[in-house]
Amino acid sequence: MSAVPLLEATGLTRRYAMRRGLFGRPVEVRAVDGVSLALERGRTLGLVGESGCGKSTTGRLVLGLERPDAGGVAFEGRPMPAPGTPAWRALRARMQMVFQDPLGALDRRMTIGAQIAEPLEIHSIGGRPERVAQLLRDVGLRPDQAGRYPHELSGGQRQRAVLARALATEPALLVCDEPISALDVSIQAQVMNLLVELQARLGTAILFVSHDLRAVRQVSHRVAVMYLGRIVEEGEPDAVLHDPAHPYAQALVSAIPHPGRRQRRILLQGDPPNPADRPSGCAFHPRCPVATTLCAREDPVLKPRPGDGRHVACHVAQGEVPARRAA
């Protein structure tokens, strides 16, 4: 086991300037605010959270598609080169992305065979026709489907084609940004099984970004829950998703429907917060059922919980303050 993880991100911060109205002052939006994560070879990290919490931006930062405003990404121990440079382009062969919308991610004027061969051409890898046929078989498509255009394939087949293109260079890291949310439920399962199977065979590390907790539990070795640009809880998927420590994670998990089981659902009060106007203290405290005065004042840090060592950023879960009874 090597000491250096495949991917290590420390204190990633990405701010966007947003202007309200014609003469409004630019408001700073912190889409990602100090996210640190590490990913080892052949492992999957699931990143969950509601929309707008910065999951996708984290995925893009980790891949080096955007420059973080603070913090840094190290891939195989070396810092990420600037986007667009030759070093960055060469590194693309080692890390790939699978997109949410497979039809949008494919060029509708090219056959999928030509598109799957494209990373091989870009990175001058030989043996193209056989390799393309092999890739198509790997993702469960027929080699004769290489001549099809994207609009001639079904949604699941398109996502398989995107996956084949991403795997063409045998990357060490695959970032899947909501890879299944545009697909039918039956196809979701196929694509996820395919991911697990390919990971077992190729040893690819996967950062699996999703809002679907069940999907994340199925594929991940570790899970990180994000809220408003920060990781609020991290741990083993079974632990996090069966016994969440953070009140936000508890609310998320309680929203998973269980057939036949009557369960109390935690309904969060209030709206998802505005990242341009972060609440003081813990960002979750205005919606939190167990918030205390300390939560409104002090920002909790992500650290191991005294009892079981679970990483969680919450004063209450850490036992620093007694929980207020939920109203």
């Binding site: 590194l91 790939q96 870009i122």
Partner: protein, 287 residues
């Protein structure tokens, strides 16, 4: 009964969809004819376009067997002049359209790729070009640099470049925000590959349509400039200059003017029809 009728109807519909529209076929035939005439002008023209036949001046079409479309005030054969005019006008229109499309598209793509300062410069040029009446620019250039065919074609090429620049810039920016360009970029593709293999083919249909719109405009512009005496200089001849010089004999010998005018109308119309149809055909998702 209906069981037999149904497959027949389906087959008929399939064939009808594949059949080419009559109007498009006519347009293609006409443009093919024009191209053939332009290429074979030396072979098919019965006379040289400067050859005089002073005994048959202002002969009406059909008056003599020698000049089927009549002759002009100097006794030059209208058919021969028409044939050479078609060659000249098509050369100018094709050359200028291609030059305009190349300049405009390159500048538009550059602006969209670099953004910032480069984009500001290109947009300022576009605004400058769009706000300047082209006729005044043409007058100034031709007055200062004299008139040569090369210069004239290049000048007309500048006529519509800003339109391509605007369209290309807008389309490239929006394509860059779309998944396929971002996806190819994150595969590690160089900007050449992203633009050459993905973005340009995807936006080409719009550019081609705008080329087919600019083509008739350039023919008309060339005609206008030649009509004003600024375009093609005698003894060279073009469709526009034929109309221009023919107007003096409009009442006595309208055939001098009518045949080139008809060619202008038919050619510009055919290019428009063809461009419209090409736009649909170039899209593989529309069949």
């Amino acid at each position: 009964m209906s069981g037999i009728a149904l497959p027949l109807r389906v087959a008929g519909e399939g064939r009808r969809r594949r059949r080419w529209p009559v109007l498009v076929l006519c347009a293609i035939a006409w443009l093919g004819l024009m191209l053939g005439v332009a290429l074979l002008a030396d072979v098919i023209a019965p006379y040289a376009y400067t050859a005089l036949d002073l005994r048959n001046r202002l002969a009406s079409p059909g008056a003599t067997v020698l000049h089927p479309l009549g002759t002009d005030e100097l006794g030059r054969d209208v058919l021969s002049r028409l044939i050479f005019s078609i060659r000249m006008s098509l050369l100018i229109a094709f050359g200028a359209t291609v030059i305009g499309a190349l300049i405009g598209t390159s500048l538009g793509v550059l602006a969209a790729h670099f953004r910032g300062f480069v984009e500001q410069v290109v947009l300022a040029l576009v605004d400058f070009s769009a706000s300047l009446p082209f006729l005044i620019l043409a007058l100034a250039v031709l007055a200062f640099f004299g008139n040569s065919l090369t210069l004239f074609v290049c000048l007309l090429g500048l006529h519509a470049w800003e339109r391509y620049a605007r369209i290309a810039r807008g389309l490239v920016i929006s394509a860059g925000a779309q998944g396929y360009a971002a996806a190819v970029r994150q595969l590690g593709a160089s900007p050449w590959r992203v633009y050459g293999r993905h973005v340009l083919p995807n936006i080409a249909s719009t550019l081609i349509v705008s080329m087919t719109l600019a083509f008739p405009e350039i023919i008309l512009l060339e005609s206008g400039l030649s009509f004003l005496g600024l375009g093609v200089q005698p003894p060279e001849t073009s469709l526009g200059s034929m109309v221009g010089y023919g107007r003096e004999y409009l009442t006595r010998a309208p055939w001098i003017l009518l045949s080139p005018a008809a060619v202008i109308v038919l050619t510009t119309f055919s290019v428009s029809v063809l461009g419209d149809w090409l736009r649909d055909r170039l899209d593989p998702t529309l069949t």
